[in-house]
C-alpha cells in the first residue's frame, strides 16, 4: 500500500472514530452539565429544586417553555433507591413527572390525568430494594434528572402550580 493511500485510510478511520465518538459522548456530556447546573452544582441531590417562571432570560436548559412551571430533581441512586411523589395542581391542569437517564433516555413518565390523585413511585437500580406497595421504576443509570412540568401559561396559573409543586418529594427511602 502506498504511503498516500495508507495516510488516507488512517484519516478516514480517525474521522469515523471522531464522528461516532462525539455522537455517543455528546448526550452524556450535555446531561452531565445539565445535572451540575440543576443540582447547584452537586449541592442539591435527591431533592427537588423549583425554577422561577420561565422568561426570556431562562438559560438553565435549552428550549424552556414559558407556559410551564418547572421543578427538577437530580437523582443519585448509588447509595440506594429514592421515593418520588408529586401532588396534582389545584386546578387539575396538566402536571407530569418524568425520569431521564444519564444518556437522555426518558425511561418513565407519569401525569396527573392518568393519576389524578398524584404521582408516587420508587426509583431504583436493578437489585435495589423497593418498598412493598409502591410502584417501582428501574433506572438504567445511577444518575439522572426528574423534571416536574405543570401547565402554567399565566402568572395566576404559575402561582397555583408553584403552591402545588411545593409538596413534591424526591428523597432517599
Amino acid at each position: 500500500m502506498s504511503r498516500a493511500v495508507w495516510l488516507g485510510v488512517c484519516f478516514c478511520a480517525a474521522a469515523a472514530v471522531g464522528h461516532v465518538g462525539t455522537v455517543i459522548a455528546a448526550p452524556h456530556v450535555i446531561m452531565h452539565v445539565a445535572m451540575a447546573r440543576l443540582s447547584q452544582p452537586d449541592r442539591l441531590i435527591n431533592a427537588f429544586s423549583f425554577s422561577p417562571r420561565v422568561d426570556a432570560h431562562a438559560r438553565w436548559v435549552v428550549r424552556p417553555s414559558p407556559d410551564l412551571a418547572y421543578a427538577s430533581c437530580v437523582y443519585d441512586l448509588s447509595h440506594g433507591a429514592i421515593l418520588v411523589s408529586a401532588a396534582p395542581s389545584a386546578d387539575h391542569g396538566y402536571a407530569s413527572i418524568s425520569v431521564f437517564a444519564a444518556n437522555t433516555d426518558n425511561i418513565a413518565v407519569f401525569d396527573t390525568f392518568a393519576q389524578p390523585q398524584g404521582v408516587r413511585f420508587a426509583l431504583a437500580l436493578a437489585g435495589q430494594a423497593v418498598p412493598t406497595g409502591v410502584p417501582g421504576v428501574r433506572a438504567t443509570t445511577a444518575r439522572g434528572i426528574i423534571p416536574d412540568r405543570r401547565l402554567a401559561p399565566t402568572a395566576a396559573a404559575f402561582a397555583a402550580a408553584d403552591r402545588a409543586r411545593s409538596a413534591d418529594r424526591c428523597a432517599p427511602i
Binding site: 495516510l7 484519516f11 478516514c12 455522537v23 455517543i24 422568561d55 396538566y94 437522555t104 433516555d105 401559561p153
Partner: protein, 193 residues
C-alpha cells in the same frame, strides 16, 4: 512515514469527524409535513445514538411521544427562513391533544432576549371560529386585535409546536395531524408575501 505525519493525519481525521458530528447534531429532525420537522423517538429508549445526540443539543429533557409531541419549523410556507424583520400568520385548527403551545426560539435554542411577555401562545389564548380555525401573528411588534407572539430580538428564529397528551393516532402517524401553516405577511423594507 514520520511519526509526526501519522499523528497529524490522525488528529485531522478526529477533528473532521468530530466537526461533522457537531454539524449533524445541530440539524433538524425528519420532515413531519407542512414544513414542520419532528421525531417519533425523541426521549424514547428506542432512540439511536444520532437521535439522542440531536435531542441533547436541541431538546434536552424532551418527553417521549406518549406524553408530548414536538414539532419545529424554521421556514414559512414558501420555504423561506423565518426572520425577525418579517410578520407571519400562524393558522390552524384543532390539534390532537389535551393542550398545545407554539413558542419562538432564537438560533441558540433559547427564548429570544426580549421582555415583551409574549414568547408563546397556547390553546387557551387563540379564538377558534365556528369551523374551529384559529390565527395568531408572529412579529416583532404587536398587531392590534391579533393573538401575538413576539419575535423581537429572535433573529432567524424557529417555531416549536408542543402537543401534550397526544391521541394514539397522532402518536402513530404524524401525517394525520393538521399542523398549522406559517405564512409570511410582509417584511420591513417592503418585502411582501
Amino acid at each position: 512515514m514520520a511519526r509526526w505525519q501519522f499523528a497529524l493525519v490522525i488528529a485531522a481525521g478526529l477533528a473532521v469527524g468530530a466537526g461533522s458530528a457537531v454539524v449533524y447534531m445541530h440539524q433538524g429532525m425528519a420532515p413531519a409535513g407542512g414544513g414542520w420537522m419532528g421525531s417519533k423517538v425523541t426521549g424514547s429508549v428506542d432512540a439511536d445514538a444520532w437521535t439522542r445526540a440531536r435531542v441533547a443539543v436541541s431538546g434536552l429533557l424532551a418527553l417521549n411521544r406518549g406524553q408530548a409531541l414536538y414539532f419545529v419549523r424554521k421556514t414559512d410556507e414558501a420555504g423561506r427562513p423565518l426572520r425577525e424583520n418579517c410578520r407571519y400568520r400562524v393558522a390552524g385548527g384543532a390539534l390532537p391533544g389535551r393542550w398545545w403551545s407554539v413558542t419562538v426560539y432564537a438560533p441558540d435554542n433559547f427564548l429570544p432576549r426580549n421582555d415583551d411577555g409574549a414568547l408563546s401562545f397556547d390553546a387557551t389564548r387563540v379564538h377558534p371560529d365556528a369551523a374551529g380555525q384559529w390565527q395568531a401573528v408572529a412579529a416583532s411588534h404587536p398587531v392590534p386585535g391579533a393573538v401575538w407572539v413576539s419575535t423581537r430580538r429572535a433573529g432567524q428564529f424557529d417555531l416549536t409546536l408542543r402537543i401534550y397528551n397526544p391521541t394514539p393516532a397522532a402518536q402513530a402517524d404524524f401525517t394525520t395531524i393538521a399542523l398549522p401553516s406559517v405564512t409570511r405577511i410582509a417584511c420591513d423594507g417592503g418585502q411582501g408575501a
